[in-house]
């Protein structure tokens, strides 16, 4: 009699959620092979949507931007988060206050971040104008209007938002390192740098991987930040795959092409996660064999 409620409460919602994800993903994949425009239809057209999406400049630029933005965002956020975590770990006064301050940006929605940073980065009214007015007339900080550099403004805003989050997780990891390990290292005469690079960071590795995966997922699905900050501009220089999907599906009324772009995004994500999963599997096999 006790099994039935357990089954219902745990397995019921779990199966529902799993079915929800699987069914709708399968439906999206199906739609990407049809000639759907304003409404879904079932006319099969093979790979036409895919070749059409891959041929648009929108997608090519979005893909390049994904690599630049994804790499930059993850790398800089991890670096900044780790630096902040190490600095806060030094038993400073006001640690709680500082931790809250650094974590605050995460509480702000990406849209608000995008809008405010778009004002700050606007050469005519933001940081550039401030520094120019202060006297450095030759100072330029107009990345947001520069086609090559605009993607880095998105990285900047993204790092500002997520660094506190990375810091919080990494700080928890730092604090969970066994004190015996540190004492042993100190006895062996390791200085602080050695201690961090040889002892603490290696034990932190699993948490860093977890943070990496979360940040990567954030980077790949970034939509509202780019919409609010640059609107995909200047021109189409800061397009990202999520924006291309939205564009096709809702702005252009081409659901089939939008679904194809979404599936391509999914394949990109798989392309990153699969090698990682295989690597972990291989490591576990090697550990089991050893």
């Amino acid at each position: 009699m006790r099994r039935a409620p357990e089954l219902l409460v745990i397995w019921g919602p779990l199966l529902l959620a799993a079915a929800h994800i699987v069914v709708f993903t399968a439906w999206t994949v199906w739609i990407s092979f049809t000639a759907s425009t304003l409404m879904p239809v079932s006319e099969f057209v093979g790979l036409r949507n895919y070749s059409s999406v891959l041929a648009t400049r929108n997608w090519k630029i979005a893909f390049d931007n994904l690599i630049v933005f994804g790499g930059g965002f993850v790398a800089f956020t991890m670096f900044t988060g780790l630096l902040l975590a190490i600095l806060i770990d030094q038993r400073i006064r006001g640690e709680n206050v500082l931790r809250s301050i650094f974590l605050y940006p995460m509480a702000v929605s990406f849209v608000v971040t995008g809008v405010v940073w778009s004002w700050l980065l606007n050469p005519g009214m933001g940081v550039q104008k401030l520094v120019n007015d202060l006297g450095w007339a030759g100072f330029r900080f107009d990345w947001i209007t520069d086609r090559e550099m605009a993607i880095w403004t998105i990285v900047l805003a993204g790092v500002w938002q997520a660094a506190g989050f990375a810091m919080a997780l990494l700080l928890a990891g730092l604090r969970s390192v066994e004190p015996d390990l540190i004492k042993a290292a100190q006895i062996d005469g390791a200085g602080p740098l050695r201690m961090y690079t040889r002892v603490i960071l290696p034990t932190l590795w699993p948490i860093m991987v977890a943070v990496l995966v979360i940040l990567l997922q954030m980077a790949i699905t970034t939509f509202d930040l780019v919409r609010a900050l640059t609107g995909g501009g200047p021109g189409i220089a800061t397009q990202l795959p999520a924006l291309v999907v939205y564009d096709f599906m809702f702005q252009r009324g081409q659901i089939g092409r939008g679904a194809a772009a979404a599936v391509l995004m999914f394949l990109t994500l798989l392309g990153v996660l699969l090698p990682h999963a295989l690597f972990k599997y291989a490591r576990r096999r090697r550990a089991a064999d050893a």
Binding site: S118, A237, R257
Partner: protein, 426 residues
């Protein structure tokens, strides 16, 4: 004691649930649920005024505006149609009317239009767009010209110029003069996609409206890859160089104060800019309205028209509301009131524009429309979703906006990309 309370609560709840049904059963009072993109500014004021007229005739006006560009409103419309609950009336325009009337049933307006004699007073090109399959499904409300030239009085004074440019060569000369006289940016603009698109269409239609018709409206490949389109890109590059590079996807209204103050000289916008300028507190004396430059001396009118489409509903009060709205939209007094607020010109060709409340620009635009139709030089706007459906428009505007923002793209490359974009978006 407890059981009596529970029963009365249940009875009260049932009674409450029945109340709206009872209310709806009594009233065939005309009611209208409308969605549009006109949430603020002069557009918002105009549709609110139309709503007041609706309420004066005893109707219930329920307007839910969706702020943003037209596509944002269309997303909401699609969501409501898919949910099986379309609004009684919505804004829609251009070829989308034909496309959307296939996905959900619309009210056949033939009888109402015939009763009002509306078809006789609407330009044939325009009427065709609103009669997919030969039946009236949508009613055009106002017409804008997108290739309108606005000149800042103060910038003109700075440059000591008093001649309004009528060809693109004269436009270029005036821009050079303004730049030399200290006007920082001879061309004012926003950074939005529609802005970049409408500059291109103003240039191409001005250079050669026949090629515009073949290339942009009929998507003829030879015309798209031809020398006239290349020349249009070259002129667009000149215009882009005169714009402020710091505009990052902002609406053109953000720069109007600088335009009026004389820091920016000329504005290539649609007629609605008049409404936006007046609504922003500026006076008609601050700027001059002129037709966009054309090369062959005959007037060219790049057309953008807003319309209302009516979605079939089973509810009697909504049906009554739709009839009332259709009648109101076709009446000359309401079109006059609407156009005077927004800066457009009325759809009806028999409206007299000699009274007060019309700017010189509007009178001139209406006259230009008549003349352009007479010489077959009235074409449909690309940037405002009149010439092509959204998907094709967006693909072409991608190329145009990239060209405007990226100085490294040459006109030849741009032409090639335009042809490729059209081919892949078909």
């Amino acid at each position: 004691m407890a059981s009596i309370r529970r029963r009365s609560v249940l009875a009260g709840a049932v009674g409450l649930m029945a109340a709206p049904l009872a209310a709806r059963a009594q009233a065939a009072k005309p009611r209208l649920t409308v969605i549009s993109q006109w949430s603020a500014g002069s557009d918002g004021a105009a549709i609110t005024a139309l709503g007041k007229k609706f309420e004066e005739r005893g109707g219930v006006w329920q307007h839910s505006p969706v702020p943003g560009f037209t596509t944002d409103m269309m997303n909401k419309l699609r969501a409501q149609i898919i949910a099986g609950d379309p609004p009684a009336c919505s804004q829609l325009k251009g070829p989308e009317i034909a496309a959307w009337s296939k996905i959900a049933p619309t009210v056949n307006l033939d009888a109402i239009v015939a009763a009002a004699g509306y078809e006789k007073v609407v330009a044939p090109d325009l009427a065709r767009l609103h009669k997919p399959g030969g039946k009236w499904s949508a009613l055009p409300l106002q017409v804008y010209r997108t290739n309108t030239l606005f000149l800042s009085k103060r910038a003109m004074d700075k440059a000591k110029a008093d001649k309004i440019p009528t060809t693109w060569a004269q436009f270029n000369e005036l821009a050079e003069k303004m730049k030399a006289a200290g006007v920082a940016h001879p061309v004012a603009n926003g950074g939005t996609r529609a802005d970049d698109g409408q500059k291109f269409e103003a240039v191409l239609a001005g250079l050669n409206p026949a090629v515009y018709r073949k290339a942009i409206m009929e998507l003829d490949e030879k015309a798209l890859g031809g020398p006239e389109v290349r020349a249009a890109f070259a002129q667009l590059r000149k215009i882009a160089d005169w714009m402020d590079p710091n505009t990052a996807a902002q609406h053109f209204s953000v720069f109007l104060p600088r335009f009026v103050a004389g820091e920016m000289g000329m504005l290539i916008q649609g007629g609605w800019a008049q409404g936006v300028l007046l609504n922003g507190g500026f006076k008609l004396d601050d700027f001059i309205i002129a037709p966009g430059p054309t090369e062959n001396g005959k007037p060219v009118f790049v057309l953008n028209a807003d319309a209302f489409i009516f979605w079939q509903s089973k509810q009697a009060d909504l049906q009554a509301g739709q009839k009332l709205m259709a009648e109101l939209v076709m009446m000359p007094e309401n079109q006059t009131m609407y156009s005077q607020i927004t800066g457009s010109i009325p759809v009806r060709t028999d409206v007299d524009l000699s009274g007060a409340g019309w700017s010189a620009g509007q009178v001139e635009a209406a006259r230009t429309l008549k003349e352009a139709v007479a010489v077959n030089q009235s074409v449909l706007s690309l940037a405002h979703n009149m010439a092509q459906e959204n998907g094709m428009t967006a693909a072409m505007i991608d190329v145009l906006t990239e060209f405007v923002k990226n100085k490294a793209i040459t006109p030849d490359q741009a032409v090639k990309r335009l042809v490729e974009a059209v081919a892949s978006a078909r």
